[in-house]
């Protein structure tokens, strides 16, 4: 393992979707990290990484919203983000977004401290859980950003594989996109609908009792589709699942 010495303090960037729609997932991630003895600081002035505007071509809007986040992390602590695509935006796209502006150096410095939640739990904290749950078969959906931009999909698998009573199954075309893509799912609902229908079916057909994902956008996309179809099969955020399996808050 390449784990570093765990830091005493970290920042937590909750992301806008988690803030308004799935706050429990954020809270569960914070609880898991604090249970490992790390102090979590949540800057109250945070909102969004700017990704929705950035991927829509509204670069100036993205820059304004992202700039409002740059001052929120004054200490040199890692910034943990419980969503692969937001982490990818902050780590890989902020330097480009601010290139040639007076904020470039600051954006790069902040970007350098971004760490995706599963990556942090596994590689920095070397999380060693005691699984208290019943035997369960589980499918995992990894966001495309986590997989292709952050290369952190293996971390989610590794964390789950540390749970003694959980059997992780692979679903058909696991590497394929769920069809969320932010504004894409609103702008091209026919195509996005076909994609999420296939993803939901593949997850269900995997034989798993439920699925987990570490990306709130994908989760709302897949769960929203399943609920629309009146399905009881559903997914949870990875943090929520890991916390439940290991006894909740300390």
């Amino acid at each position: 393992m390449s784990q570093k010495r765990p830091p005493a303090d970290v920042y937590f960037f909750g992301t806008c979707l988690i803030d308004v729609f799935q706050p429990q997932a954020g809270l569960d991630a914070v609880t898991l990290i604090e249970r490992e003895g790390v102090r979590v600081h949540y800057p109250d002035a945070q909102s969004c990484c700017g990704q929705p505007a950035y991927t829509s071509g509204e670069v100036a809007a993205a820059r304004r919203v992202a700039r409002a986040q740059l001052d929120l992390f004054p200490e040199a602590w890692p910034i943990v983000v419980p969503s692969g695509s937001c982490a990818g935006m902050m780590k890989h796209h902020w330097p480009t977004l601010f290139a040639g502006t007076p904020d470039e150096a600051r954006a790069k410095e902040v970007a350098g401290r971004i760490v995706e939640f599963a990556d942090f739990l596994l590689n920095t904290l070397d999380w060693q859980p005691t699984d208290l749950g019943q035997p369960l078969t589980l499918a995992v959906h990894t966001s495309c950003s986590a997989r292709r931009e952050m290369n952190t999909h293996v971390n989610g698998w590794a964390l789950i594989d540390r749970l003694a009573n959980v059997k992780r199954v692979v679903h058909e075309r696991e590497a394929e996109c769920c069809g969320f893509g932010g504004v894409f799912s609103v702008r091209h609902p026919d195509i996005a609908g076909a994609m999420v229908a296939d993803k939901a079916a593949a997850l269900k057909d995997s034989g798993a009792a439920q699925f987990v994902t570490a990306d709130c956008g994908c989760m709302m996309n897949i769960n929203g589709k399943l609920a629309k179809d009146g399905d009881t099969f559903a997914g949870e955020h990875l943090a929520t699942f890991l916390l439940k399996r290991t006894g909740g808050a300390a």
Partner: protein, 483 residues
Amino acid sequence: MNEATLTYYPSRDFKANARAALADSNLRASFRGAMDFLMGKRAAQFPDAHELAELRKLGEAIRQKSLAKLPELLEQLEAKLTENGVTVHWAETTEEANAIVHGLIAAKGGKLAVKGKSMVSEETELNHYLEARGMTAIESDMGEYIVQLAGEKPSHIIMPAIHKTRADIARLFSEHIPGTPYTEDVDALIQIGRQALRQMYVSADVGISGVNFAIAETGTLCLVENEGNGRMCTTVPDMHIAITGIEKVIEKLSDVVPLYSLLTRSATGQPVTTYFNMISGPRRPGEKDGPREVHLVLLDNGRSQAYSDEQLRKTLQCIRCGACMNHCPVYTRIGGHAYGTVYPGPIGEIISPHMLGLENTVDLPTASSLCGACGEVCPVKIPIPEMLMRLREESVRDPHEKVAHPLRGQGAGVDKEVKLAWRLWTGLYSKPGYYRLFGWAATRLRGLTPRHQLGWTQNHVPMKPAPKTLHELMRERRKETGR
């Protein structure tokens, strides 16, 4: 194959085309099956991730080097080809390219052209142009031949007739090839097609082909193919006209080896193709075969626009393998015709705006979830998602804004309501006080969540805010824990 039977799929109707394609279960099954097959074949060719990574880096470097020197390499290519006895023609527009080809055939009093596969000739709609002027152009690549008989366009750049079922092809052959009985036997169908085409090589006045790589150092045109039709087209008729885009030039003979390997392995999952042709001029004195005249038409058609912008120039690195399509979750579901462009899929989304203008292709750069599968498999490492985002930026840019390299159709995607929504969003999300108020209001008013939320509720239950935001929960938590 008159004007009336030509099926045209304009890209302005992308959304309607996509909807129709999604509703066609046969089409979806054939694309899904074919793409799964091609993805599997490619994966089997690259068992060693390290080797693949190194080869892609090399491919990228070769293409970038070629593009960096493009003007001088084109000059060198012209000089070398001329030395070799090949006449070089330059065309800025598709109309100019077609006129050149037509003029060459007309000067010989020719009527019949037999064609090897060429996407650039699809770009110029050459067949149509020649037919409107009393000439006949017959496609000799089996897939191209099938779509030509059907009066359609290719739905994939490597496998043009991938959307056709066996029964479709059986029907086409029995209707269009005299004396052909209806059969769905694949081997029999291929034999029927080959026999029909075989006659054409002998009677054709001219052979037309594309080019995969044009080597500046030696003045050589390389042609990659599997059916042997490319070799027949370029050697049997008295005249050979090659047509290609200006970006296809590479510096050295040694550059071909890695690019060829990347191309065949990425495209069809073959270690090598059945045929690899290197054309270095017409028949020389004392030689018994080969064309007496060889011409090369070099087409721009919007490529200069991509070239002039340092970031968008990467678009021209493409070697037309089609791997981005095979791996695209959107292309796999809607097929090639829905895009309404000669080049479909991810590469089509980033190259078509240069050829047709953003005003005619405005939906294409948005037709991606930015999943990154295309960029991941691209053999020459074109950062396709980055290109898509840049084109989105240009399509919502104020059409009057002065920029260094304005794109044709800048601002074609500007929508006043959407602009207003983004302004509102920016105001809320860039000011912490407003944002917290918004979060508070959204959660408190969650009972009033609209039941219809634009395109979202077509596939999902409405997005409903939680009872409290994470901001509030964290504040409560701080109070409880005293931190």
